[in-house]
């Protein structure tokens, strides 16, 4: 399924979360996102990011509460829970308070507020876990391809960097130095950076050797038009946005913005002609993608609409303290977000956990240099899965079975030399 559909769905849930502070609705949203992730995520490394985002959400919530306790809250409250000693501040810092009275109302307000932020983070985490971010970037227009690659490379570097830090911290232990604590972490900084730099140079060399950055010849007229369209379009977007936001000029703002957008899109499209790249198996936007993205958009739209008819239950007041209740219709609309758990394709789970993918299951020991005592192995597999037949070895000294010579082969013209393998295998 198209990764964009997952992102639309998650952004829909996030929009819904941004429209309410009702903790019950927010918890319901988190539950919906969590259920869909549990039902439809894969074993891939990026799918593990959901737990990380969940922890980040909790951290944000905690920080918000700590701030409310330490710095006080502007919410007037009557239920004092406890009083911290207040730090006397000079005259010029009048508006700031450190310590002092902590009220239940202030804490509840901070809790609702923090919960909203945490829910937004969880929604983003769900999108991350469900859709491979690299595949989403592959859907960018051709002219933005290079920027997309830079982001993908950066994303694969982050886990490598974390692994490096862990490895070097462990290596400190081998030198008899403490391997725990912040100091150990700081001291491995330089070697980690050196390693990352070396790896990026190696990667750049590999990418260059694999044809990254090959460009097609385009006529100068097209090049100039591209530049003009892109620059003009961006200027138009800026001017249009200014017109929309400024007090006067709302009349011409929208048309200028639209014209700018169209020009910029045209520039991007023309710019794509410089790139010779093609796409391998682009994701298609099918019926399932429509359903998944539609469910997210429906949740967002219904919640925005609910804000107009049932504003009070969506924002339970902190002053006076009341028990928030669950408004029926908004809650029902949130449940619409569960749809992807049933319509999205079930991910194919690998038979063994991915980190167990070492070695060559089913590989018989084979002599490293063609020992005559050992016959070549009969059909066997390289991977961990079921056995598959492989071409039988050629008889020593016999005629090669290939009949057609491997003529010089131009990229892209019909069956290549490797396609004979299908025939040979039979």
């Amino acid at each position: 399924m198209h990764p964009g559909a997952w992102w639309l769905w998650a952004l829909g849930l996030a929009t819904a979360a941004s429209r309410t502070t009702n903790p019950l609705l927010l918890c319901l949203l988190v539950g919906v996102a969590g259920y869909v992730v549990a039902a439809r995520r894969t074993d891939a490394p990026w799918a593990r990011s959901y737990a990380a985002f969940l922890k980040l959400g909790l951290l944000v919530l905690g920080i918000r509460l700590v701030f409310a306790v330490v710095l006080g809250s502007p919410i007037p409250g009557t239920h004092t829970l406890f009083t911290l000693p207040e730090v006397p501040l000079p005259e010029w810092a009048r508006g700031v308070r450190i310590g002092g009275r902590v009220t239940a109302e202030g804490l509840v307000f901070a809790l609702y507020d923090g919960l909203k932020l945490a829910t937004l983070l969880v929604c983003v985490g769900a999108a991350n876990a469900l859709a491979n971010p690299a595949r989403l970037l592959k859907s960018l227009p051709g002219a933005l391809y290079e920027a997309g690659v830079a982001i993908v490379v950066a994303m694969t570097f982050a886990p490598n960097l974390v692994a490096d830090v862990a490895r070097l911290r462990a290596a400190r232990r081998l030198r008899g130095r403490p391997d725990r604590g912040a100091k150990a972490l700081l001291l491995v900084g330089l070697p980690v950076l050196e390693g990352a730099l070396e790896r990026s140079v190696a990667l750049a060399a590999a990418m260059d050797a694999r044809g990254y950055g090959r460009t097609a010849q385009v006529p100068p007229a097209v090049r100039h038009t591209t530049t003009a369209l892109t620059l003009g379009g961006l200027l138009g977007v800026c001017a249009g946005t200014y017109g929309l936001l400024a007090a006067q000029g709302a009349g011409y703002g929208l048309p200028v913005l639209l014209a700018g957008l169209v020009a910029a899109m045209g520039g991007l499209w023309l710019g794509g002609r410089r790139s010779v790249r093609t796409r391998y198996r682009p994701d298609r936007w099918g019926a399932r993608a429509w359903l998944v993205s539609g469910s997210g958009i429906a949740v967002a739209a219904l919640m925005v609409w609910a804000a107009s008819y049932a504003d009070a239950p969506l924002h339970p007041p902190a002053v006076p303290l009341t028990t928030p209740d669950l408004p029926l219709w908004p809650a029902a609309s949130v449940l619409l977000g569960l749809l992807p758990a049933f319509v999205a394709p079930v991910p194919v789970r690998s038979p063994r956990p991915p980190s167990d993918g070492h070695g060559h299951a089913g590989s018989a020991p084979r002599s490293p240099d063609g020992d005559p005592r050992r016959t070549r192995p009969t059909p066997r597999s390289w991977g961990g899965g079921p056995r598959r037949t492989r071409p039988a070895p050629r008889p020593p000294g016999g005629e090669p079975r290939r009949t057609r010579p491997a003529a010089s082969h131009q990229p892209g013209d019909g069956p290549g030399p490797y396609s004979h393998w299908k025939e040979i295998r039979r």
Partner: protein
């Protein structure tokens, strides 16, 4: 036949270098041949490979004189990206080659860059998935694959563009024997059936030399290459596999390159050897002197009193007293408080010394959801060298890391000199066990060798200069001010080993020590490790290198899927296993000879 790769009077000089990295290279590799590039470390093999793919000098800088033509294109006028459709390059580390994150996308990446039509790309990806046996892995994240699988994906990712020339830098160094064999089988098939030209640099000649059509020998830095038939070049090469060594020893002509050829000629040799027994190597000393005494010969001058006190001499009488105390603690309590503390302290350090350097029983280690080790039992005695072998990912490194306390056992016990490694502080553990990791540079932090040594003395609590003395012994010609990064692979390994030895641990662990080492460096390492074992150090090394295990190890332990499947004397385990048998043993089977030096020791006095 036209030449796929042609070097015409090529020399390459890097910036700030004193001399050219390669000089006067003038050769041609015909289409459809497998050319093997050999030579000691640092002679410019990587430079030559880079010159073919255009990365030298376009990417690396430096000056290239002469002309390099690949499939008729001059690399002077074509940048690497413009050669991408005729040259496929796979570097030493497959991980730094990957741009995308799943197998299928990686295979398609090169074709996307070249702008092939979608249906062509789809078909070729399927073909390469089948050709390299990757079909089951197509959706898997690359990071979750084993080393051999990654290497195959890296080769596949350049094959999809149908290059005429394939350039590989040490494609099998990191692989276990079976995985290496698979990669080489693929290469051979490409050459034989598809007419691809392959240029390959490799240190482990015993794995590749019999596949080569042509050998390009770079004898020394800046020297002109010797090009020719593999058997002829091997006859004069400073680097050669054991089977060639054996052939030279036995005066076989032409020199055999494969075990099969050698066996055909080995009849008379086998007869001559059949009545003899291989010279016994110094066996492990089960209860001999501990490293506390024996290894002191080198570092004695630098030993301060406290270090000696820490590891007192084990007199027989004293040891018996300790045992008695361990059995009857009540008797000890009856003694006066003062003597008790003193003696208990002594007993504690003594217990650590009496215990074997490593004792593991019923060990299970989990990493994430995966059971990395289960039910592993292993005891290593002083003076014993144990080789851990097995596939990539069988749990060798995990076992070594558990012995230094990096992993906490899920069940079972681990004792290193009587201590529990993961509960012991790094400073104490250092004196009982030392690990040289797979990447020795992980141990090196300082800017100069001298600073590194001073830090090591401080870490280990050794006398100043102890580490430098060891470095001088292991690396005689390295200046104090050298940056550790400027050392060669072998020198860096020796430096890391010296740092680990500074604390004089009774147990030394090495993870893949011969990766990237040439034969000379390897021979030196074997000498050093043998001397350490003779001194009473226990050595455990995880390795894929069957020749190293045959030369060095008293005992071989084979791991598979986290369990020990074989454990016994090297000769027994290795000879009975087709994957882990060294070449000499295969040639002379069923006679129990493992290495060329063994044969030489018997033959030369009689000759």
């Amino acid at each position: 036949m036209s030449a796929a790769i042609r070097f015409e009077q090529v020399s390459v000089t890097y910036e700030n270098a004193t001399g050219p990295a390669i000089r006067g290279v003038d050769l041609a590799v015909p289409e459809g041949e497998l050319a093997l590039l050999v030579g000691p470390s640092g002679v410019g093999k990587s430079t030559m490979l880079g010159a073919v793919s255009g990365l030298v000098p376009h990417f690396t800088g430096g000056t290239l004189h002469g002309r390099v033509t690949v499939a008729g294109r001059d690399t002077r006028t074509h940048k690497p990206r413009e050669l991408a459709d005729v040259v496929g390059t796979v570097g030493q580390d497959p991980l730094s080659h990957f741009v995308t994150d799943t197998v299928e996308d990686e295979l398609a990446y090169g074709m996307e860059s070249l702008g092939l039509a979608p249906d062509v790309m789809r078909r070729r990806v399927e073909e390469i998935l089948d050709l390299l046996g990757l079909a089951e892995l197509r959706d898997r994240p690359i990071a979750a694959l084993s080393g051999g699988q990654q290497q195959r994906v890296a080769i596949g990712s350049v094959l999809t563009t149908h290059p005429r020339v394939l350039v590989l830098d040490e494609p099998t160094s990191a692989l276990d024997p079976a995985a290496a064999e698979e990669v080489l089988a693929v290469l051979q098939r490409l050459v034989h059936d598809l007419g691809t030209t392959v240029l390959l640099a490799e240190h482990r000649l015993e794995r590749v030399v019999q596949y080569a059509d042509q050998v390009i020998l770079l004898p020394a830095p800046g020297a002109a290459p010797v090009v020719g038939d593999p058997a002829e070049v091997m006859a004069r090469s400073p680097v050669r596999p054991p089977v060639v060594d054996l052939g030279r020893l036995a005066d076989w002509s032409p020199l055999p390159l494969s075990v099969r050829d050698a066996r055909r000629k080995a009849g008379p040799l086998r007869e001559r050897l059949s009545g003899l027994t291989p010279p016994a190597r110094p066996a492990a000393v089960p209860d001999g002197p501990g490293p506390g005494e024996a290894s002191r010969h080198g570092a004695e001058a630098h030993q301060d009193d406290s270090a000696t006190a820490r590891r007192p001499r084990r007199g027989g009488l004293f040891r018996r007293t300790v045992k008695a105390k361990a059995i009857e603690p009540r008797t000890v309590k009856a003694q006066t408080a003062k003597t008790q503390t003193v003696k208990a302290k002594a007993a504690k350090t003594q217990a650590a010394d009496v215990a074997p350097p490593a004792a593991v029983s019923g060990l299970a280690v989990r990493r994430g959801r995966v059971e990395a080790l289960s039910g592993v039992g292993l005891t290593v005695r002083s003076g014993e060298a144990v080789a851990l072998m097995g596939r990539n990912g069988a749990g060798k490194s995990t076992l070594l890391r558990t012995l230094v306390g990096m992993h906490e056992p899920a069940s079972g016990t681990v004792r290193v000199g009587g201590l529990v490694p993961h509960r012991t502080g790094p400073r104490d553990l250092l004196r009982h066990v030392g690990l040289v990791p797979q990447e020795p540079r992980d141990l090196l932090y300082a800017n100069t060798v001298r600073a590194e040594c001073e830090a090591a003395d401080l870490d280990a609590g050794a006398a100043p200069g102890a580490c430098r003395a060891l470095v001088a012994e292991l690396l005689p010609d390295v200046a104090d001010a050298t940056h550790p990064r400027d050392l060669s692979e072998g020198q860096r390994l020796a430096l890391a080993l010296a740092i680990v030895l500074t604390a004089r641990p009774p147990l030394i662990l090495l993870d893949e020590p011969t990766r990237g080492l040439d034969y000379a460096a390897k021979a030196r390492l074997v000498e050093i490790l043998r001397a350490l074992a003779a001194d009473g150090h226990a050595i455990v090394l995880a390795t894929h290198d069957v020749e190293l295990a045959a030369e060095l190890a008293h005992r071989v332990v084979i791991l598979a899927d986290g369990e020990i499947v074989a454990d016994g004397p090297t000769a027994e385990v290795v000879v009975s296993s087709p994957a882990f048998a060294p070449q000499v043993s295969k040639v002379l089977a069923p006679l129990p000879w493992l290495t060329v030096p063994q044969v030489r020791a018997v033959l030369e006095p009689t000759a």
